[in-house]
Amino acid sequence: MATETDVLVLGGGSTGCGIARDLAMRGLEVTLVERYNLTDGTTGRMHGLLHSGGRYAVSDRESATECIEENEILRNIAGHCVEMTGGLFVKRPEDSDSYFREKLEGCRECGIPARALSGREAREREPYLAEDVSRAIEVPDGAVDPFRLCVANALDAEAHGARIETHAEVVDLLREGADVYGVRVRHDSGPGRRNHGTSGSTEEITAEYVVNATGAWAGQIAAMADLEVEVRPSKGVMTIMNVRQVDTVINRCRPKGDADIIVPHETTAILGTTDEEVTDPDDYPEAEWEVDTMIDTLSELVPILSEARTLRSFWGVRPLYEPPERGTADPTDITRDFFLLDHDERDGVSGLVSIVGGKFTTYRAMAEEISDFVCGKLGVRAACPTAEEPLPGSENLERLEDGMDDFGLRSPIARRSKQRLGSRSRAVLETDEPNPVICPCEGVTRAEVRDAIAQSGSDLNAVRIRTRASMGNCQGGFCCGPMANELHPDYDEVTVRRALDELFEERWKGQRHALWGEQLSQAMLNYALHATTMNRDRDPASADPSDPEADAASLEYAAFDAGEGR
C-alpha cells in the first residue's frame, strides 16, 4: 500500500528543507525523505559562512549580487541562526594589489557595502591578525548555523502540514514508462520520530511530482530511474578550533586557493577549505596532510592558529555541476550557480526535477525558483512568502532581546541558550522543574535537550544538531551519558544504549584528525572515563542477549606486536 502526497522532496539538506517549507506554505501537501539526519549530507559539513557576496565579487558578479540580497533576507527571517560578525578580506604583502582593487571595485558594483582598512585598523578590530597583513576590505559577511537554519525550515514545513521523514533512505525511484511517480524508502526504525527500538520497514510514497534535492547524491538517485545526472562531487576539509581566535570572518584576498577562510562559528572558529574532485560522495580519502595544510596556511593570516587546539576536522562534498559540454578541469573553476534539470525536457521523463550545484547562502532563493517551477508543473498559483515570513525562533527578535529574563540560569548559559532558541526561548526554558546544565562546554540545559528530543525522538545526533550539546571541547566525553539519560524512561534501556553508542561514535569520528596536544589529552581522559570508569569498552550489559557467542571477553592478543625495538 502506498502513501500519497502532492510533492515528494528527496534530501533533508538546506535545499530540500527550503523547498519543503516553501511548497507547504503555498498550500501543497509535501513529504520530505532524508536517508540519515537533516543536514547530514553537505549542509552539515560547511564552514558556516553567510556570504556577503564578497568572495564572488571578482569572478562571478551575478552570484555576488544574489548573495548580498539573500544575506539581507536571512538576517531578517532567520536572525536566531545568523550572527552578523562582519567579514574582512585581508591582504598579505605577497598578495596582488590589483586584485585587492578589483575586489573593492567588484563589491561596489554588486551593491556589497565595502570599506578599505589599513593593516592597523584591521588589527584593531582583530588583534590576532598577522603583523604583516597590510590592508583589508570590510564586508558584511556573517556566520550562520546550518543545522539550526535547516531544522527551522523543516519545523516550519511541518507546522504547515508537511511530513518530514528522516532515516528514510530512498531505495528505488518508481517509474512507469516515461513517468516518475514516487519512491520506495526503507525506514531505518519505522516511520515517524526515530525510535531505535522499532524495527525497520519499507514504504512506497507516490506523488504528483518528485523533487530530487539530494545534491552530491543526485546522480545516484537519478540512476534509479535510469537517468543520468553528471554531478561532480568535490570534497573540502574543514577544521574546527576550540575557541574563536577571531570574531570576524577572515578571508584571504587573493583569486583562489585552498585554506583561505576562517569563520567564527558559535563558540568555535572553522578553518576552510580545499577543493578536490572525488568519484563517490560517500567514500573518499581523508588525509592528515589536508588538515595540516589548513592550519599552516591560515596561520599566515592568524599566527596563533599554529599553536591553538583543534577539536575535530570534517570533510564535506560540494554538489558541483556543470553541463557536461563545458568540461572544466579544475573543480575550483566550476560555477557555484545551481541548475534545475527538468527531466521531462531533458530526458523525456516526466514527474521529476533534479537540483544540483548552488550554495548555502542562497538556498532560499533556489527553493523559491524550484517551488515556482513545481507549482507551474502542477498548475498551482500561489505567491512565495519565504522572503518575508520569519522562521520559527526568529519572530520579533528585537523586541524579545530586551524583555527576556535569564530563566534562573547563570548568565552566560542563559545568553547562549537565548541566542540558539531565539523567540522560542521562553517556551523552551521556562520550567518549574530543575534545569541543570547537561552540556557544560556549550551551555546546554536539560530543558533544551528535552525540547530537541520531543522533535526528533531517540536520535541523539538529531539532539546534537538542534542544541550543540556534545559539540564543545570535550566532544561529548562528559555530556553524552547525561544526554542519553534524558531519553529514559520514555525510551527503554536498549534504545537508550543504542542512541548513546551512535552519538559517541559520531563524536569520535571527527576527533581522529585532531589527536595531538590538548585534544589528545582530552581523548585520553574521555577514554578513561568511558572505557574504564564506565566500563563501556566491554560492558556485559551491552552484549547482544540473543547472541551469547559474541561475548566481548575474547581479546585478540595476537593482534598486539611486541613494541618498537624488541
Binding site: E83, G86, R101, L104, E105, C107, R108, G111, P113, A114, R115, A116, L117, S118, G119, R120, R123, E124, R125, P127, E131, R135, E138, V139, P140, N242, V243, R244, Q245, D247, P264, T267, D292, I295, I304, S306, E307, A308, R309, R410, S411, P412, I413, A414, R415, P440, C441, E442, G443, N473, C474, G477, F478, L515, W516, G517, E518, S521, Q522, L525
Partner: protein
Amino acid sequence: MRAEPSNPLEFARTRPIEGGEIMSDAERSTDERESSERSRDAGEFEPIQVFPEAEEMDLRPGADDCYKCSTCDTNCPVAEVDDEFPGPKFQGPEQWRLKRKDDHDVDESVMKCSNCMRCDSTCPSEVPLSQMHNTARGEYVEQNMSKFSREYLRNRILANYRRLAPLAAAFPRTANVVMGLSITRWLGEKTLGITSEREFPEFATETFREWWAKRNGSNVSNPDKRVAYFHGCYANYNTPEVAKALVRVYERFGYEIVVPEQHCSGTPMFANGMLEDARRSAETNVRELASAIDDGADVVASCSSCSMSIRQEYPELFDVDGTGDVAANTWDAVEYLRVHEDLESALEGTSVGPEFDEFAYHAPCHARNQGLDGQTLEVLDVVEGVDVTDVGDSCSGISGTYGWKEENYETSMKIGEEMFEHMSEAGAAAGLTECPTCSMQMEHGTGYEITHTLEVLEAALVGPNAATEST
C-alpha cells in the same frame, strides 16, 4: 601527526595587549582612501565600532588548555562548602569559551570566588584559571555592579584598606578603641555589610616605615648584597614586628636593605574586581621596584600574597613596563635566604627562648601556589626549642577581604573548619603562618596567638638582644 606546540600557554598567559602602531593611515594609498570614501557613500552597512575592545584582555585561547577534568572544582575550597558556587572550571575556561566578543554578561557567581588561587596549582594542564577569574571579576564589577551600591562601596573600602590605614595609624589608639567598639562593628555590618563577627586588626602605635625612618634605614651598606623590601600594608600598619624581624634577619646575613615607596600589592583589589585600582598600585610598585632592581637589589616580601601578586598577577593582568623583570626578581623572604644563603646551616644549633614553643603551622594558599608550602617546616626543623606541626593543606577560608564580607562569613568559617580542627588536634597552643589574613582567621577560629615565621627566625638568628633596638 603534528608536533605538540612548544609552549601553547605562552601567548595566553603573557601576551601583551596590542597597541603598537604598525602602519599609519598616511601610508595607505590614495586610491584606497578614495574607494573607502566611495563605499561609505554607497553602503548602509554600518560596521560595529569595536576599537575599544581591542584594548581588552582576551582569554578565550586560555580555554584551549582545559580538558574538563574538574580537578580544579574538587580542590576549590568555596565549591566544597557552597553548593551554589559553580566552581573554577565554569568561572574560568567554560565562561570564557562561551563568550563572543561583544558579550559582557559575566555571571555574578564570580564574586563568590575567594581568589585563593588553589585552582592554579592543582590544574594538571596549566589553564590560567585565576587570570581568567580576575579578569572576569574585573569585567563583572565594571559592567554589572552599580557604582552606587552598598556592595561596591564596601568592596572598594575593603580593597583600598591601605588608603584608610594611614588615618588609623595617625591615631592608632583612638582607632583601635573605635574599631573595637561593638557599635562600630554593628554599624559596619548594617551599613556596609562588613561582618560584625570579626574584630578589626589592631593598628600599631608606630608603623614600620616610621620606625625605619627613625632608625635611619639600613645598618648595613653593601652594594653586592642588596634587597628591596616590599613590606605591604599589613606589616607596615599592623604588625611592624614582622617587618623588623625581616630587617634584622637580613642584616644578620650582611644584606643592605632598601625600603622603596610602595602601594598595596593589589591582592585585595583583584579579589574585589577593582582592576583599575590594582593597575594604579601596580604602576607605582613596578616603577619603584624596577628602579631598586636597577640599583642592584632583589625584591623580597614577607607576605605570601604580596609576593604572589607581584610574581604572578602583575604579568598576567597588566602590561606595565618592567613588570616581567620585577616579577622575575621578586622572592618570598625565606625562600630568598634558602636560595642565596645557607639558611639551614646558619640555623643549625640555634635555639629560641620559651616565648616560642609548639606551633600549629598553616601554609597559606598563596604560599602553596608559589611552591613554598613545605619550606617553613624544613627551615624550622633544625631550630632547638621549637616544634612545628603542619595542619595540612586545607584553606583557612578567609582569603583576604573575602571572609570580612557579611555574606561570605559563614562560608569562610565553614572552609576554615578543617584547619581549626587540625590546629586543635596539633597539640600546640599557638599558630604560625606567613599570611596576614590567614593569621586573622587562625586567631579568630582558635583564639591562639599567631606568629610569623620571620619572627621565629629572628629569635633564632639574632636572639633576644634584638628587642633592645626597638625603642
